[in-house]
Subunit: 211 residues, 3 copies
């Protein structure tokens, strides 16, 4: 059952990020193959960097199911693009769940490889965020992760809470997973709803910003 | 003979991309070492990502010949930069051949590693296109692959035709290779000549494009 | 003693790049977690790409000490950010030493893996420069390495001199290391002080620069 739960997590996260990539690419008026490439990169980017760092086989190289899933989701998004406005809230929820799901997977894979917990939090953050970072770089947008509402912060906090709960709580593993995902989704949702932001470093750019 | 043909393919593709990188870098007024770095990245970028994904040794790490070839081509391009205008058509043809050649190499390396054919098409596209994508990111241009005439599309179509022909046709392997390369070159050339474009997703950007 | 010297080199270089990343991120008004991520990427980016290319374990995946060092340096930089103006010269010196130190480490790791010396120079340049390149891409700045005073050039010259001296001189290894680092720092310092630039390729952009 544990395995199946992990699998469901990965499928849902992949669908969520594939849709988010497709819609971002259509907004930038790419052609269908461009949309497909961006959907692909957004979905697998974070996990690919994680697997390369861990020196384990890149997960999608032998997983035709995952590739097909991205392809189908992307085509589905292109056909129903006109619905996006109605989907806006749905899409945001999907994206938040994707972030939570992928963060957990990253932390778990790190622990399985015998990596120090603190570095596992970094791996979880990379898995959750890098797909979106690469998407934004390819679309020539300032990676929003570095600008807007709490995003990476949610991964870092979620990863830390996950590690503490698996180590010190008596709750079952699957329950801890669900709690962490909900925590990350909650942080993201509340942050966007109430415009939470981390304090930034102001009063700086009066220098030549290109320095 | 087969081996020699593959080797010739790789040499020609490397020269083509090295020249295309050098000229793009000179247009952006980089200094000679910057031009050299961009030429290098454009030539080896796609193959490097492919080899990392396949977890096989990165091809240029033990191949002083390929590195020397890039160095010489780049220096040659800098010396004869004034000729570029006369070379414009030549350069376009080289770049198209490079695209076709590298796509084939990527698909072949994937098949050799026992990867599913559909994922091999992705590997071929990565090998053909990623060098140019990294070049454009470093030079702070919007990766043209996502904007202009059919480019990635040519790789995807070429890769699919290559796989179908090797599986279902009675033609010899080398002949199928040559046919595929010519097909990719033809798609690119006709697309540029007649301004073929894939239909794009319009009527979208009236939203805040920075969303 | 040799080992300890190498270790000291790595620690100093990491601190230098972590500070340089933190200050660049604060200038762009990122929040504290964003600053931390940029500091991390700037410090480990070059070495990570090098280790992936060499197919050896990525150095920071099993090195909690290095990760802690980056964390502490970044927090320290955020607390004392107001001092940056006084630190400007200090920071430049640190960054130059970091460049020299990391270049040497890259060349050494390449030689240890049995790579051809010419390719080792490329690895040294990658180790020295890629962290800064990734930092600039993430912060949406034109990678300064390709614009400003001699930077990659210092790595390439330093790497070549290092290889020649270890092969043909009678000087001790540690002494050659120190000489090379000082050479790279000297090139950088003199280049910035006297606005040395490599000749660039002018008279070009009258074409459509977006071609």
């Amino acid at each position: 059952m544990h395995e199946q739960f992990n699998f469901a997590i990965e499928v849902l996260g992949t669908i969520a990020f594939s849709m988010s990539g497709s819609f971002a690419a259509m907004q930038k008026r790419l052609d269908p193959f461009g949309v497909l490439i961006i959907a692909f990169v957004t979905s697998v980017g974070g996990g690919t960097v994680r697997d390369l760092l861990l020196d384990i086989p890149v997960f999608w190289m032998h997983d035709i199911l995952m590739c097909t899933l991205i392809l189908v989701t992307s085509i589905f998004s292109m056909i129903f693009k006109s619905l996006e406005k109605n989907f806006k809230v749905t899409l945001f929820i999907f994206d938040s769940f994707g972030l939570g799901l992928f963060t957990i997977i990253g932390v778990q894979k790190g622990l399985n490889a015998g990596i120090h917990p603190m570095i596992c939090i970094a791996l979880g953050t990379i898995t959750g965020c890098f797909g979106g970072i690469i998407r934004d770089i390819l679309l020539n947008r300032i990676p929003l992760i570095f600008r807007k509402e709490i995003y990476a912060t949610a991964c870092i906090v979620g990863g830390a809470v996950f590690l503490l709960m698996t180590k010190y709580s008596v709750l079952s593993y699957t329950f801890v997973q669900i709690l962490t995902i909900l925590l990350i989704v909650a942080i993201r949702t509340l942050a966007v709803k109430y415009h939470w932001q981390m304090p930034k470093f102001y009063g700086y750019d009066h220098n030549n910003s290109e320095m």
